[in-house]
Amino acid sequence: MFKSVLEGSAAAPDMMVMVNGVETPAWNGETVASILLRVPNVGRTSPVSGKPRLPYCQMGVCFDCLAVVDGIASTQGCLVAVRPGMRIDIQRGPREIAR
């Protein structure tokens, strides 16, 4: 849905992150929420309706960018900058917590 103007340029990505186990290019300054908008089908689903959601506000007030970041669930993706090797996983519906 979104694409970086830097993506088309010859410059190599600044880093790679793991999105649902798939290696994905990322750029310095980008947040987890921006990855959710660039990579198809990794947004969360509402724990109430089960319907898909994507980041809406990018400034920490809508909570539609929640994701599991390096194992920490319900992280506000728009407030976390990407780091090399970061693991980002989809959060679907109500959380299942580890037994």
């Binding site: 109430v48 669930a73 109500p94 299942e96 917590i97 580890a98 037994r99």
Partner: protein
Amino acid sequence: MDADIIIIGAGVVGAALAYGIAKKGHKVIVLDGKDRDLRAARANFGLVWVQGKGSDTPAYTELTLQSSDLWPTFRQELAEAAGSRVDYSRRGGLAFCLSEADYQAREALLERTHNRQRQAYTEMLGRHALERMLPAVTLGNAVVGASYCELDGHTNPLQLYAALLAAVSTLGSQVRFRTPVTAIKPMSGGFEVDTLQGGVRARRVIVAAGLATPGLTDPLGLVVPLYAERGQILVTERLAPMLPLPASGLRQTSEGTMMIGATNEKAFDTGVTIQSAIKLAHRAQRIIPALGSVRLVRQWSGLRVLSPDKAPIYAESTRHAGLFAAVCHSGVTLAAAHAAIVGPAMAEGQLPQNLAAFSNGRFDVQKCA
């Protein structure tokens, strides 16, 4: 007369009484206070709870049992009358014990409370039995066992409250919000209740105004000794179902959120403290360590409405017949009894003998004041 009965206080107690009375065909006017008044009805935990209730007051244990048995029918009729949802389940309830001493104390309490009643409905569970009962949960090492009562259940207290208010209106009675009462004045054949919006008249008056009750009834000689105890509660984000039955201090709602409660504090405001949040979070994690990764969404507090022996007070003024007080802590558990028994009795102007144990006369009022 503006109505048959005026109820002062549209909390969960006043609304349940009003619902029960309106169902009998009486016209009720319920007067509610200001938006920011103390509102235990919006702060409570939602247990419909039997175990441990009334350890020193057998009549309270008996009334609790009665209400708990009335709840399934009460809930069904209420949901129909209100046309809204009232989540409720009754699969038993637990009280976790986090040490041997805790376990033994709990066992002793249950024996004292319930042995003189039906014996079969409470039991102590060891850790293994508990694990079989909660297959989706890994218990913390500290959990020794739990007490279990098959009669316990839980509801969504906010749905209950909303449904009671809606049903009162549907049944032709009336709830007047933002109508704080300043005084109750006896007159011939009834009472005039002064409010900031003018006077309202009825043959009988029930004061169910929680902690504000004594301020209205004491001047008329109906002395109601009460004290406040603050309880703080935490609620988490929504989780997939994991706790099939509620526990004292830990219950998963039908929405999936986990409620963690509640503290017992001497305080007179509905503030919250970090100290209590730490204590509650710590205890929840000791019971189910995986809860550590779950996010707290909200913390709040309410003031419990307690009499000196913690049992309800249902009393009629000796000086002014037709003036009643109805105050208690367990407004959710007792809602069914309030609607089916207490409310209609007060509306008829006659508290039955089996409620006599809840009279304010049981306290030495001088000492309590």
